[in-house]
Amino acid sequence: MENKIDRKLAGLKSSGTHGLMAHIVVGYPDLARSERLLDTLADSGADLIELQVPFSDPLADGPTIMTANLKALEAGVRVADVFRFAEKAAGRLSGVPLLFMSYLNIPFNYGMEAFCRDSAAAGICGLIVPDIPPEETAEGYRGHCLDHGLHPVYILSPSSTEQRVRLIASLAGGFIYCTAMVGITGARDKQQAGLQDFISRVRAHTGLPLALGFGISSREHVLRAAGLAEVSVIGSKVIDLYNQGASEEDSLGRVSGFLRSLRGSAP
C-alpha cells in the first residue's frame, strides 16, 4: 500500500513547492485545544504534521516543547488519549499525512509491535523516535514500522560522521529529518555554519527527500531552507506564537498568520 507521505512529497515535487511540516504536542494545552490547533495548522498550509506524544523526559527538546510536554501530562493526557486523538485527526484531515514523534520509552512500554500496529490503524503514516540510534534494534523498531506500512523517519545532524550518514540513509524511510544545527529544539536566530555542505553530504547517500528542522522560526529561515531541502519543519515557533495569544482565538490567529506568511514566501 502506498504511504501518504510519499504521495504528498511527490505532489510537492511535481508542483515545485517547498513543503512545510508543522508540529504539535498532543494535549497541549489540553486535548480539545490541541485539536483546534492541529486543524488550524492544516487549514493554514501545513503539508505534514508531527504529533508529539507527551513524555516526562524529552531529551532533545528545548524549554518551549519540553514545557508543553509537561503541561500536557499535568493536564492528565495518557498514551491512549493520544491514539484516540490521532485516529480522529486522521479521519478529519485526510489530505495531511500525520506522523508520531515520540521518545522511545513510550513505545517500549506500550510494546513496540503493538505501538506500530495501533499507530498504523489510527492512520499515522510515519514515526520519528529521536532516541533510537541505528545501532540499537530497539525491540525491532524498524521491522515493525515496515511491517505495518509506517515510514521510520531517522534524524541526521551536521555532526554526523560520513559513516553514520551512510548507515542512517540506508535505513531511513519516507524522508530524512536533518537538523539545521547541532542543538536541541527551539526557535532561535543562530544559524549553523556549513549547512550546505552537510546537506550535500546527505544527498550523496540518499535519493530520499530531506526535511530541515530545529530553530526554523522566520520567513528568512524557510527561504534559506527551501534552497537546501524539500521540507521545512516548524516546531517550537508554533508553540511560542500560540503562547503569546491573549485568547485561544488570538493564539490560533497568530499561528495561522505566521504559517500563511511562510507559504507565501516559498518558491
Binding site: F55, S56, D57, P58, L59, A60, D61, G62, P63, M66, T67, L70, L73, R78, V79, L104, N105, I106, F108, N109, Y110, P130, D131, I132, P133, E135, E136, A138, Y154, I155, L156, S157, S159, S160, T161, R164, I168, T179, V182, G183, I184
Partner: protein, 417 residues
Amino acid sequence: MKKYTLDSFSTGGHFGPYGGMYAPEMLVPALQELEAAYLEARADKGFQQEFEDLLRTYSGRPTPLYLGENFSRRLGGARVYFKQEGLGQTGSHKINNVLGQALLARRMGKKRLIAETGAGQHGLATATAAARFGFECEIFMGEVDMMRQRPNVFWMEQLGATVTPVPYGTRTLKDAVNESFKNWIENLEDTHLLVGSALSAHPYPTIVRDFQCVIGHEVRSQMMQAEGRLPDVLVACVGGGSNSLGMFYPFLGDEQVEMIGVEAAGLGIGTGRHSARFQGGRLGVIEGYKSYFLQDEDGQTLGTHSVAAGLDYPGIGPEHAWLHDLGRVKYTGATDSETLEAMKLLMRTEGLIPALESAHAVAEAVRRAPAMRPDQLMVVNLSGRGDKDIFIVAEALGDRAWMEFLRSKVEAADHGE
C-alpha cells in the same frame, strides 16, 4: 570473574539487556569520540599514573578502612569496617570519578566542564576540579535540591562555577540530568559533560565505574592487611550506583563475598514515596540507557522521594540492573527514619558523621550485623561525610536551638549586618 563482568566496549555498552547508547543523533558522535578517547587514555600508563598521583596528593587517598569496634559491639554480631570515602577532598567518593574525567577532558582539549548534581557533592567535586585545572564550569541543579543543599551551592559558586537552577519537572536530579544533556548538545565543541554516576548513555557507566574502582581495590588490600582474608559482606548505598559499583566490582569474581546495595525506601515502599527502583520499578529506556525505572504504565517517570538528595532519582545504573538479574548483588532498602536512626548510632558510637546517602548503608549494617557471627567481616562504604546535611538533619531531628540559630541569622541579615 568472567561470569559477572564483561567488556562493555565490545557490546555497544550493553550489560546483558541493559545499558546501551540511546541518545539522539546530535550526541552520538560526541559519545563515540569520548569512547575512543577513553580507550586510549585507559591504555596509557602516563594517564593512569597521573590519575593515581592526583588521587594521592590532591584527594588524600588511600582513604582509611576503619574497624568500628564500638559500633560492632553494640550490634553484637559481625566485625564492621567502614571505608571512609568522606575523608577525601570535597567530602565524598565523587571526587575519584571527577578527577579521572577532568584529566580525560583536558586530554580531549575541552575548555568547559558541565555536570548535573543532586546532593551537590558531584557538583562540588566538579567545581573543585574545574578550579584546579582551569576549566570553565557550569553545574545544573534542580530547584528543590538547591533549596535543600544550599551549603554546596554556596561553595560551588565560591569555587568559580555557575550553578544553574533547573525549574522543570520534579526539579530534582533527574531534571538536572536532562538539562546537562541538553546543554552538552548545544556546546559539544568545547564542553565535556562530566556525568557523576554509573549511568547515562554508553560509555559513561563504564568510565565512571572504572574511575571508582579505586575504592574496591583499596578495600581489598586494606582488608588483607588487617584480617588476612577477604570480607564476607560489602554494603553500599545505591543512587545511580557509582560508590557501590566502585567497591563491588573488584570483588565480583570472589563468589564468597556477598554484596548488598541499599536503595532509598523513603517514607516506605508501600507509600509510593521512595526511590527504590528494584522494588516497584520496571524496565524502561530513559535518559540514554535501558534499565529499571520508577515510571507509570505509560512510561512517564514518577516523582521520587528520599531524605537523601543523592539517592532521589528514578533510574539506576545499567550494570546494577544486570548484576541484580544475575543475583550477584542483592538489593534492599532503608527508609528515611531507619537512616536517621543509623546515622545517630554511628555518630554516638564511633564519632563518624556519615552523609545521609551513606547512612542508608549504615542502616543495612544495623539490620544485618546482629545476625552474623563475630568472626565474620562486613565493610560498609561511607561514601560521604555528613557536613552538607546539617540543615536537613537538624530539621528532621527537630532541633530547637538550631532553628533559633537560623532565625537569629536571618534577623541579623535583615538588619543589614
